[in-house]
């Protein structure tokens, strides 16, 4: 069964460092998303991406964050200068449909720890 894959599974970084989290969405999907989940808390929307551009973003997704689809398969989330409060599990997701999104397929997540 096709799946969303994410790397790394865990990254530890110093405050102020740049981090890039990588995702390979399911190949025939059109919409890509990043969500984050602080330990034990809710899943929070960061950004959605369609047709090579951001379609929606939340208040969390400030200037420190950026997304890119550098080639036909990878979808990356960059945090320019990490803060302690960026420590969370970051989930990439993809869906096939536009408009009504239908099922989101989540990757297993990248745990980011900022020291």
């Amino acid at each position: 069964e096709p799946e969303v894959t994410q790397t790394p599974s865990h990254q530890v970084t110093q405050m102020g460092q740049e981090v890039i989290l990588r995702c390979v969405p399911i190949s025939n999907h059109l919409y890509f998303y990043w969500y984050r989940q602080i330990l034990g808390q809710k899943v929070e929307f960061l950004v959605s991406f369609y047709n090579n551009e951001i379609s929606e973003k939340s208040e969390i997704f400030d200037d420190q964050f950026s997304v890119e689809r550098p080639d036909g398969s990878n979808f990356t989330l960059k945090i320019r200068s990490t803060k302690l409060e960026d420590s969370a599990m970051y989930f990439c997701a993809s869906s096939r449909l536009a408009g009504v999104p239908g099922e989101l397929f989540f990757g297993e997540g990248s745990r980011l720890t900022v020291l």
């Binding site: 809710k42 929307f45 929606e56 939340s58 989930f91 536009a98 009504v100 999104p101 239908g102 099922e103």
Partner: protein, 111 residues
């Protein structure tokens, strides 16, 4: 902005008991989805409800979407230890394709 709230936050049940989690949105939704997240895992899609008053069943799970399309519920009949996890509702309004997740209900089942 849109807010989605879930109650209860936690629920302990004895195996075989029923379980219900409730989801309420501050705005009318175009559709609602339910996800299950096992401890240490990632959210896994369960179902999507689109129509006002819709009821869908998956084996022991029953999902409802309210008439006003602002609330939803998930009911599990005769829980099993495999039902353990956090159940999230996630709503989409007509403004875009962003899914807003509720806070989740963590279900613990005692064998």
């Amino acid at each position: 902005g849109q807010q989605v709230m879930q109650i209860p936050q936690y629920q302990h049940v004895q195996e075989g008991e029923d379980f219900t989690t409730y989801c309420n949105s501050s705005t009318t939704l175009s559709n609602i989805q339910w996800y299950k997240q096992r401890p240490g895992g990632h959210p896994v899609f369960l179902i999507q409800l689109v129509k006002s008053g819709e009821v869908k069943k998956q084996k022991r799970l029953t999902f409802q979407f309210g008439e006003a399309k602002k609330n939803s519920s998930l009911h599990i009949t005769a829980t099993q230890t495999t039902d353990v996890g956090t159940y999230f509702c996630a709503g989409q309004n007509n403004a875009g394709n962003m899914l807003t997740f509720g806070g989740g209900t963590r279900l613990m089942v005692k064998p």
